[in-house]
Every structure is written in C-alpha cells, then in structure tokens.
C-alpha cells in the first residue's frame, strides 16, 4: 500500500492545465508538421503556418495558444495499491483546476448550471474520469477541451443492419457537418459499441492516445485509415477554407455490445489538442 496525499493531485493538476495550454505536445506538433507536407492547397498551407507560428509563440511566451482554454478533463488511472489521503479527491482536483486557471491567466469558461448560466469564475467543475488499474502508481492525464470542437460532436444509436458502412457514413457526415466550426485540421475520436454512454466515453478516451498511434487490432487500424482517407476527401481543409487535410488522425475505440445495438459516438477535437500527463 502506497499513500498519496490529495494535495499532490491538486498541485499536479494545477501544473498540467497550464503546461497543456502553453505548450503543444510533441505528438500534435509532429502531426501538424506532417500535415504541412500533405496539404496541397496554398491557403491551407498558409493556415497551417499560422497555426505553427501560434503554438511556437505561445510556448515561448508562456501564454495560452487559444483563448478557449477549455473545460479541464482530468483522467486518473488509479493503482489499486494506492491509498489516497488528506480528503476528498474530486474536491482536490477542482482545487487544482481553480489554481491552475487562476495562476496561468487562463480563461474561466465554466458555468454553474446549463440554464441558469452563472460563471463559476474558477473554471470548475472539472470533468473527472477515474479508472482503477493494477499497481501502486497514480497517472494523471489532463486534456483542456475547447467548446467549439466539443459542440460539433455527435452520437447515434444505429440499427445493427447499418453495419460498418452505416457507421462510416455517420462519422464522415459528422466531420463534414463540423467543417470550419471545429477548427480543422481535426483529431476525430470515435467510440463504437458498448451502450449509449460507453460509446461516448470510448470516443473521448480515444483522444488521449498519442496522435496517430493506431488501434492495436490491425483490422481496426485499417478502418481508422479508411476513415481518415474518406474524411480528407471532403475538401474542408484547414479552417474550412478548402484543402486536402481536414483531419490529422482518426482514433477508434471499440467494445462489445447488445445484439440490438450499434452505438457510434464521434468526439471531435481541434488542432489545439492540449493534453499533458504525469505519474505520481
């Protein structure tokens, strides 16, 4: 049994939300560099150059690369040998978010209630996801998710007869519909199977994968490539001004499901894919 104080979790979250907003991780930088070579439209290349200049500047000056500094998604992989001490874990995570967003001059974008709509002024609540895993470590992954791309996400309970072709059409149509609204080039997170909520969770968690890392099942890796090719045929391009790179990557996660069901969820992420992790 290993003890970890929840204050350590709070401090880690506070640091990660700032780092994520200031400095784009290498996997995303690499994907944008590859896009520079793949993009055929001059206007698309010009946008990609602006995107590169922007994240370089943000990293150097330690300012947020995008003004929507997002909702803080905090994913914990909690080793089952770990004993958390010092109080409520969720409270500690929210304390960390409040501290990080305040110290980092990040934007407070969270409201107390979807209809009453009063700003909480400290960017809480965080969205907290906890998985219990073997071991005595605590992995903290943070993703600062922008509203523009999240709003373009979709979920559908397809009939099983729709099959792969139906799922593919739904996913490609969701990306076409998002177009410039979601700040392409995109990372498209897809969850297929499970049930209504698990499909959405799979889609979200697929975004945590390093950009472009394939699904370990070769059959699903091939389907990811098929989806990426179909999406890049759309012509949407960087910021929707027309071009050959609409998505940087498609990540698909799958899970078994009921005989009546074919749930498909598409969680869209923009090029400002701000993620960061640490191990305690």
């Amino acid at each position: 049994m290993r003890e970890i104080h929840v204050d350590q979790v709070a401090e880690t979250v506070a640091r990660l939300v700032q780092e994520a907003n200031f400095k784009l991780e290498d996997d995303v930088v690499g994907a944008i560099n590859r896009a520079m070579n793949l993009e055929e439209a001059p206007v698309g290349q010009a946008i990609l150059l602006q995107i590169q200049d922007n994240y370089t500047l943000a990293g150097t000056e330690r300012v947020p690369m995008c003004q929507d500094t997002g909702v803080a998604l905090v994913f914990l992989e909690l080793g089952q040998e770990v004993h958390l001490t010092g109080g409520d874990l969720t409270d500690a995570i929210n304390r960390g978010v409040a501290k990080g967003y305040t110290e980092g001059y990040l934007r407070m974008s969270m409201l107390n209630d979807p209809i009453k709509r009063v700003n909480t002024k400290n960017n809480t609540p965080a969205m907290v996801y906890i998985d219990v895993v073997p071991g005595d470590q605590l992995k903290v992954k943070v993703d600062c998710k922008g509203g523009g791309s999240e709003n373009m996400s979709q979920l559908k309970m397809l009939p099983p007869s729709a099959g792969w072709e139906g799922a593919k059409r739904f996913i490609v149509e969701a990306v076409a519909n998002a177009g410039p609204n979601a700040c392409p080039p995109l990372i498209v997170g897809v969850g297929i199977g499970g049930n209504f909520d698990k499909s959405a969770l799979l889609a979200k968690k697929s975004l945590l994968r390093h950009v472009g890392d394939p699904n370990p099942d070769p059959e699903w890796e091939a389907r990811e490539q098929e989806l990426l090719a179909e999406i890049n045929k759309l012509g949407v391009g960087p910021m929707g001004l027309g071009g050959t790179v609409t998505a940087l990557a498609v990540h698909v996660e799958v899970m078994g499901c009921h005989i009546t069901a074919l749930p498909v969820a598409v969680n869209i992420e923009c090029h400002s894919h701000r993620h960061k992790e640490a191990v305690l």
């Binding site: 439209a41 946008i47 974008s109 523009g148 012509g235 910021m239 050959t244």
Partner: protein, 197 residues
Amino acid sequence: MAKVYLTTPITDAQVREIKAGDEVYITGTIYTARDAAHRRMVEELAAGKPLPIDAQGAVIYYVGPTPPKPGQVIGSAGPTTSYRMDKYTPDMLKQGVKAVIGKGYRGDEVKSGFVQYGAVYLVSTGGAGALLAKTIEAAEVVAYEDLGAEAVRRLTVKEFPTVCIHDATGGDQYFAGQSQWVKPDAMVKPKKPEAGE
C-alpha cells in the same frame, strides 16, 4: 483573390470592394461581443435603448479573450464559432454594422442579411489566439463588465488578418474553396449556397 486593407469605420463603398476569398486586414477600432453580449444588446434595442457601441460602419469580433498577463494589453484572442450569434446578427446589421469576424458556417438568414444590409462576414484563424493578439494594440471594456471574458471591449488593432467568407453580393468562400478540393468520390459534398443569394 486580392489583399484589402481597411481602416474603420467601414463605408458602403469599401464593403462593395471586398469579395469572398479576399484577405482583409483591418486597422482601427473593433468591438468584441459573444452570444451573451449580443443577447443583451438586442434586448436593449427591443426596449428602445441605445447600443453601447457606435454601430455605424462598425466591425464586431466574436471573441472572449483570456485575461492579460501583467504587461499585456490583452490575453490570447482568437475567434469563437459564429453560428451562436446567428440569431442576433441580422439585428446588428440593421443597426449599421458592416463587418463581423468569427469562424465557421452561418445560417441562411444571416447570409441573406449580408446581402440585404451590405455587410461582410470575415474569419480569422481559430486557435491562433496568441498570434492574433499581437495585432491588438489596446483593449478597453466598454459595456457589460459583469460578463467577464464576454464583456464588450473596444480593441485598437493594426492589420488584423482575416479572410472574407460571405461578401455583400452572396459570394461564399467556404463553398468555393471546398469545392476546389473535394474529391469526386467524397461521401459528402460541400453545401451549396441557397439559390438567388
């Protein structure tokens, strides 16, 4: 596709010069407003009150910046998604606003509004908030301070970079640009602008 340099306030003659696809660089004063501020402005108009901004020839930028760090005039300041303002945009155009800056698709009513009132829809690069902030020389809250990031600010900008998507004659650069690059066997084709616009 031309490069157009504009100084605010924008005249009808200047609007007519801008064509969909042009790069438009704006110098002068622009006002920030997102959905919460738009809603208030439109409600105040309906109640017969004056707008907190001088709408004649004005440019409105859909942005909610991050707070400035010490020494900065403004934090990061890139565009937000425009469709959330669709409900309010025709009313603002009616008041004399000549250009709005955001990102993303607009509804049909808004697109006809640009033609009807002689105005343009410009976009800047979403996610390039740190870079775009470099063209902002001054920022001052002029209304609705309680809205925080969503308050109405007067920005002084120098050659703020945009691209025209909808011009005052019904041009649609999202459609034109995407049509050039869509593959013949794509599962979805770019959305055609409504006939007659």
